[in-house]
């Protein structure tokens, strides 16, 4: 049986395509420099002080980081990783962390994408492997 798409459906699928494209483009276009600052000054600072040391982006492959970020698990699965890039978290530490203060108003997903972009770029097999400094 042949199904004919109504104009409304065609428009809907166009919009779906656009939204997916927008999402993908957004994921690809993170601000790696902002991600770097947040990774170094918030993630690494806290890890160094409270979690046994820094984790360099170049200590993992892009595939490792991709699956880690996708899993959204932190502290051995006890918490959401995204929590630590959230506005709520940034506001909670901004009195003592200048990077959190500087980026306090950046939307959560955007900042997370920036961090992701930096981590993948800085991965062992990334375009520009990065240490913690």
């Amino acid at each position: 049986m042949k199904t004919r798409l109504s104009p409304i459906n065609v428009l809907s699928y166009c919009l779906l395509g656009c939204s997916l494209f927008a999402g993908a483009a957004h994921a690809a276009d993170g601000d790696w420099k902002r991600g770097r600052v947040y990774y170094q000054k918030v993630c690494t600072d806290c890890h160094t002080a409270k979690a046994g040391g820094a984790i360099a982006p170049n200590s993992r492959t892009m595939a490792d980081w991709t699956s880690y970020l996708k899993a959204d698990k932190h502290a051995k699965g006890k918490e959401s990783l995204k929590k630590y890039a959230s506005k709520e978290y940034r506001v909670s530490v901004k009195a003592t962390n200048k990077a959190a203060e500087k980026y306090a108003d950046v939307p959560d997903e955007q900042l997370f994408n920036d961090i992701r972009t930096f981590m993948l770029k800085g991965a062992k097999d990334g375009d520009s492997p990065a240490s913690c400094l």
Binding site: S6, I8, N9, L11, S12, Y13, L15, L16, C18, S19, A22, G23, H26, D31, W32, K33, R36, V37, Q40, K41, K98, A99, E101, K102, D105, V106, P107, E109, Q110, K121, D127, S128, L133
Partner: protein, 533 residues
């Protein structure tokens, strides 16, 4: 129909959501950065195979850019010293990797051009100017050593035979994302001077790519976030503030907008003026004798990356028990010996040396007579004194080393270090062969003998400016054994060399006598008043 409407509603929500998610503020911020989106330029929609192809595309719009670059030290690697010495990387010899001559393909990795592999490089070529090394914003643009400044656009093994595969870079993507220069661009070379991260300068290393306030108040990535060009204010690609032409003392005021200046815009005074200390005006009395950097850069190599403090080439060439070139590391994992380079001493959080400096620097160049004496040969010499009216006390890094020279002709040696040939020192570890080729490359005579002599070079410290709270305190200098203890020609109250025992004794005697006078006078008053009662 209803389902379609429903789907459309959901999709519209998603799209609007995505747009909102795109965050208007950052988009606006991105928009306001430039009037051009290079990703929309047809000429950049090419699968570029080489760097010069990209430059050709750039020049199709930026028609005069290459000609501007041709006038810069970044391109020529030459600088004519006011005293007539021909300087610049092309001509000087230092006590790190020593010289560019006969090592072009390796050293020109940091040239802003493509293809400088020998002394026949065409300095008039416009397409050989490398636009991307300064304007890449992706952070992915890389020049690999040994390729004469060319880039990798096909998978390659570098160095040949090493088994290390280098990924090609995406020139199209990089060209479409060009931007104003950033710390990462300048740092790609300047952080790595001397053959590695932080090796040469001490006040410049990769920790400045994203520093915090404690490391540098101006470049603080979470605060002021200055680019290098914020101070090194560039016009027509001419970058001011070269160490070959330093401004040791700026007697001018803060630069005002709209006013034209011919003086160096990179000095502290060009922003902060002559009386920058508001809370404690007494500190302004120091600015006629002490460079700002002296107090405000209490130490260098503070970002966690060690700088080389000495380099002894004379021990190079040792093989390990396995017959392979030896490498030794210290407890922190820093390399302190390699067969290719010899022994190093590294330093972190280093307190600078201090000296009078008037901006003039004299160099020991190829062909200048040197001798192995008790004093080290000065690779460069900072001129200045307390009395010339042009000098300030500056913080410097003094790099000490032992390097090869010809003991018969008494000249510093030009080494052929890098290259895929059997005369390069890093290939065969044979000094005589490496120096013979090096000296021949500059047309200098060579006796066939190689010896080593002690050398020193001096480097100004001017980056890594600490927050005011971390600046030097009075006691750091006005005390015995203070930082300026060895600086001659000036009276600094409190330091040991300015103590005169007789003056101290006289002062104490006067104080004691004054106290006695007060006591006697007081006692007299008391006695007289009792009598009167």
């Amino acid at each position: 129909m209803r389902a379609g409407l429903c789907t459309m509603t959901v999709m519209t929500t998603l799209l609007v959501g995505a747009a909102a998610h795109g965050a208007p503020d950052p988009e606006s911020a991105k928009l306001l950065k430039s009037t051009s989106d290079h990703a929309k330029f047809k000429v950049l929609e090419q699968d570029f195979k080489t760097g010069p192809e990209v430059t050709k595309a750039c020049l199709s719009c930026h028609t005069e850019a290459a000609k501007q670059l041709h006038l810069t030290q970044h391109w020529t690697w030459e600088f004519l010293n006011p005293d007539g010495q021909r300087l610049g990387k092309k001509h000087v010899i230092n006590n790190f990797c020593t010289s560019v001559a006969s090592n072009y393909a390796s050293c020109t990795t940091c040239h802003i051009g493509y293809g400088w592999k020998d002394d026949k490089f065409d300095f008039t070529s416009q397409v050989n100017v490398d636009c991307l090394i300064c304007h890449d914003s992706t952070g992915n643009y890389r020049k690999q050593p040994g390729l004469a400044g060319n880039v990798v656009t096909q998978p390659m093994e570098i160095p040949p035979g090493s088994g290390i595969r280098v990924k090609p870079i995406d020139l199209k993507k990089i060209a479409q994302a060009v931007a104003k220069t950033s710390r990462d661009n300048c740092g790609a070379c300047h952080f790595f001077g001397g053959g590695g991260d932080g090796v040469k300068h001490g006040d410049m290393d990769s920790s400045l790519a994203s520093p915090d306030k404690a490391l540098d108040v101006h470049m603080d990535a979470t605060g002021n976030n200055f680019a290098c060009a914020t101070c090194h204010m560039t016009e027509g690609h001419q970058v001011p503030g070269s160490r070959y032409a330093p401004t040791a003392q700026d007697k001018g005021g803060a630069h005002l907008r709209g006013k034209e200046y011919t003086t160096n815009p990179t000095t502290c005074q060009s922003c902060h003026g002559q009386a920058p200390h508001k809370a404690n005006a007494k500190l302004n009395d120091h600015t006629g004798k002490v460079a700002c950097q002296t107090c405000h850069i209490p130490s260098y190599a503070r970002g966690g990356i060690a700088t080389k403090m000495s380099w002894d080439w004379s021990t190079a060439g040792k093989m390990g028990p396995d017959g392979k070139p030896l490498i030794r590391k210290d407890a922190k994992g820093h390399v302190i010996y390699t067969a290719a380079k010899g022994d190093f001493v590294l330093g972190e959080n280093v307190v600078p040396d201090y000296m009078w400096f008037n901006g003039k620097v004299k160099y020991t160049l190829f062909g200048d007579k040197v001798d192995k004496g008790e004093q080290p040969t000065l690779i460069n010499h900072f001129e200045g004194s307390a009395s010339d009216g042009k000098s300030l006390i500056w913080p410097v890094k003094v790099m000490r080393g032992k390097q090869a020279y010809d003991p018969v002709n008494k000249t510093l040696a030009v080494l052929h270090m890098a290259g895929n040939d059997d005369t390069a020192f890093w290939t065969n570890f044979n000094w005589e062969r490496a120096v013979a080729v090096g000296m021949a490359s500059v047309g200098a005579p060579f006796s066939g003998k190689v010896d080593f002599l002690a050398t020193e070079s001096t480097w100004p410290i001017t980056h890594m400016v600490a927050p005011a709270k971390d600046a030097l305190r009075c006691r750091d200098c006005h005390a015995s054994g203070g930082r300026l203890e060895k600086v001659p020609g000036i009276y600094i109250p409190g330091r040991a060399s300015d103590h005169a025992g007789w003056l101290d004794a006289a002062g104490w005697a006067i104080a004691v006598l004054a106290m006695l006078g007060v006591l006697v006078h007081g006692a007299g008053r008391v006695i007289v008043s009792r009598r009167n009662k």
